[in-house]
């Protein structure tokens, strides 16, 4: 089962782009807390604390035990880390979305799929392990949320695959992906076709509107053809 990680969260008064920027420069990460029974509330989390919490977690969709402080009062809340936005180049966290949930409320989230062992098809027959689905969308209670879903692929030979229906899910966890969706497949080694000669590089075809020939339209008869002729 997934661990519930404790973290301190405080309400945020500085809003908008400038507010978020000043929050970041003060060493905090701006975020938002929302839920079925919670009004969307701007929050901030200490960036070092969040990085430490996420370090060692199997994915970014983790359960958090929030110590939420607002105007000096601290309350305990359970939330799912719904979304984490990273800087495109520098990788630091820019913003987080926290989804408040109740212990008895069913949640929907993604759990990473991790293969265990080495497939016969890859090891002995030179196949390629294709990972079509890297995370599974699941529905469960917070206490049943698994950290990862493991798949044993050691018996997987060439041209064989594992589907969502083949996954062994922990009790209380339901997969929301289609049951016949492929998770992993071992493909036969592909024969690469050599590229064609570079001699004549063709130019793309230009899409043009088709002109309606009035004579052809009259020959067909019908009301649709008669209408544009009447307009003229």
């Amino acid at each position: 089962m997934a661990k519930i990680l404790p973290i301190k969260v405080t309400s945020r008064a500085q809003l908008g782009r400038a507010g978020a920027k000043s929050t970041r420069s003060a060493g905090n990460i701006p975020g938002i807390l929302y839920g079925k029974k919670t009004q969307p509330t701007p929050i901030q989390i200490n960036s070092k604390e969040l990085t430490a919490v996420l370090h060692g977690a199997s994915s970014e969709n983790v359960l958090l035990d929030l110590a939420y402080t607002h105007e000096g009062n601290t309350t305990s809340r359970l939330a799912l880390l719904q979304d984490v936005q990273h800087h495109v180049l520098k990788d630091y966290i820019v913003h987080v979305d926290l989804h408040e949930i109740a212990q008895d409320e069913v949640l929907h989230t993604e759990v990473p799929i991790q293969e265990v062992g080495e497939s016969i098809g890859v090891k002995s027959n030179g196949g390629l392990l294709e990972k079509t689905l890297r995370s599974l969308r699941v529905e469960c209670l917070p206490r049943d949320l698994p950290e990862v879903i493991t798949v044993d692929i050691s018996a997987l030979d060439l041209d064989q695959s594992i589907h969502v229906s083949d996954l062994k899910l922990p009790a209380g966890v339901t997969a929301l992906n289609s049951a016949d969706a492929t998770v992993l497949a071992v493909l036969a080694p592909a024969k690469e076709e050599e590229a064609a000669d570079e001699g004549d590089v063709k130019q793309p075809e230009v899409i043009k509107e088709k002109k309606v020939d009035p004579a052809a339209a009259d020959a067909k008869g019908g009301k649709a053809a008669a209408k544009p002729a009447g307009k003229k």
Partner: protein, 144 residues
């Protein structure tokens, strides 16, 4: 053969803007390893093809490659020793607009050392700085 659109609505395009960071095509979607752009550029279809070839040769036909950019913008040029005027030149080559953060290539099904070497060779064919990145592996499985 270098990549090229099959059909286009207009043969000639305006230059457009290349400012800002990439907002799409910024994360690894298919493979385990990727090459990410750190600068902005117009990457030509011949440069993409050169990268594809060098990656394919180094991987010795193992694994799988994804090209995440497509040259859908035509660049025109005037014939040499032509006077100004008389309209825009003819389409000369095709480019993909790349901004910092864009994923260019992805690889899977090979060891990391081969992926790194393939990407290093591909980076030599590009006019911009790039970096090698890899997909995060779940920690619980790492320990197993």
């Amino acid at each position: 053969m270098p990549l090229l659109p099959k059909r286009v609505k207009y043969r000639k395009t305006q230059r457009g803007s290349r400012k800002g960071f990439a907002t799409r095509n910024t994360y690894i979607a298919f493979g385990a390893y990727a090459l990410q752009a750190l600068e902005r550029a117009w990457i030509t279809n011949t440069q993409i093809e050169a990268c594809r070839r060098v990656i394919s040769n180094n991987m010795k036909r193992k694994g799988k490659t994804w090209i995440r950019i497509f040259p859908d913008k035509s660049v025109t040029a005037r014939p040499p020793e032509t006077r100004m005027g008389k309209g825009k030149g003819a389409p000369e080559y095709w480019v993909a607009v790349v901004k910092p953060g864009n994923i260019l290539f992805e690889l899977d099904g090979i060891p990391e050392s081969i992926a790194r070497e393939s990407m290093r060779l591909a980076a030599n064919k590009l006019p911009i700085r790039v970096r090698f990145i890899k997909r995060a592996v779940p920690v619980a499985a790492k320990a197993a």
